[in-house]
Amino acid sequence: MTIGKVLDPTATRDDDVASPGPDAGVLAGKKIGFRLDQIWRAWDWISEDWAARLEEAGAEVSYWRSCGRSGEEGERMAAELKEWLGTIDMAIVGLANCGSCTGWTVRDAITSVNTGIPTIAIATKNFEDFAHEIAARGGRSGLRVHVLPYPLNEQERDDVKAIGEAHFDAMLEDFGAVLEMRDAAE
């Protein structure tokens, strides 16, 4: 048996921010952004339903939709995202519901939280671990991730609505958010 030394073929990045970023705090009066994509209608539906609840509480909602991420289209997306992040106080970023879309959801969420605004990524259960893994590899292991059931996009509108309603309070909790000042006092 010959013993000797071999060289490590792997490489990892060393930097990491374990902080989840700032809590969202009181949402009333805040500008809240939803990041959407081109695939998941269930996420469009849940965003609409959550947006209605937030607007009722006095928040202002805007949307940004991720499209192609390469070529001129990708450059346009990056510029749009940067500009949009400059117009909102906090971001709800989804949907991590496949491989590449989890990758881009987390990547955009990291871009958001790295600007200093409260940010939460939304993933479905099957992609929860992956979302955390990819966040850590993106240098932001503490990224907030709220988890919705899986499968989700295969459900009917009414079922998705019920899921959204059932998860709204838990999402706020994960986000460190309360709807209004009186909620904070409680």
């Binding site: 000797g4 030394k5 073929p9 499209c67 070529g71 491989g99 590449s100 990758g103």
Partner: protein, 390 residues
Amino acid sequence: MSVTLIRPSGSKIAPVPKPLVSRDCGPAGCEVDWLASRRYETELDFEGFNSFAMEQGWGDGLPLVPPTESRVRIFLSENDRYPDEVIAHLPPSRAECTVEKIAINAVMAGAQPESLELLIAMVAAIADPDFELYGINTTTAPVYPAFIVNGPIRDALDIPYSYGCFGGVATRANAIGRAMRLIMRNVAGQVAGVTSQSTFGSPGRLASILAGEWEEKSPWAPLAERRARIAGNAVSCFGTMGTMNVLDTTSQAPRDFLEMIGKSVPYVAANCYTPAMPFAEMMVAINPICAEIVGKEMPNIEDVQECLWRYASVPADLLQRQHREQLEGQGRVREDGRIYATPEPKDFILFVAGGLGGLHATGFHSFGSCLTQTRAIASPIPAEQAQAAE
């Protein structure tokens, strides 16, 4: 909305590789410890090392060559790169892919030192933001980068471009493709079920596809020259879902061959029709026999691309309503009621390869927003020549 066209980003201008200067001082010529990677003490015999490597998560399950310091130093000493040179940051890990890491993985895969500059060009190509490696390495799709090589280096490295060129040829060049896959695993961090969510994967994720273009049999300019005006040694890479065979034992006329290929490649569940991505490229390998026939009538390859593109579409009403509505919303249904596989004819990327038995073409569906990249392969120049030039 209207069809989103594929236009490379501003980062797309391919950098000219730096001329390498042969030198006396380097990994083999100095007492300096050039290698920065962590050393592990382990058994070096076949069973011992391969068990250790699997435990460490370094391998692909096939036997690996132990990357001892002496092997890595020899590999580097036969080249003209310093090991600490950072070639790229590969996603999703975004860790530094240095020459040293490339060399270690190449040694493990069994690749020869002469392959280093090709490997570096391959890494640089896939690291271009337009290649969208982040998506490739995380997606549920089975996509992987495939590489087509132009120039004399094809023969120098025994890269196949004739019979069986996309898999099955016994050649040391297979180890280069495998080295690339080990780099993807060990440096980029693509691990099935951990970072990669690929539902099925692909045999191409083991040793990739590394083939040459049979330039000498092509009636058109070499692929790298057409794409990036690079004459000589170059590599083009594209993300592909795998090979798709197109058989035609009947056609005689050039346009008949192209009609058969064009009509065969689009299918409604292909990535080019996903609403997740606004566009896709389509790669097609044309065999030398077919290429000769087509080339006589169409010496301009743009005409071939145009002809293929016109056939490569599906009627929108072939799609179920909810699928069709998504694409309609993206403006992808044209006035003729059809959805084309690619936005424009130029997005059909063609090259000549394969055996002289003819009959078949190979289609490669892309990963949507992953755009094909072409890079020159650097070659060393003697130090005296470099000094004289200065």
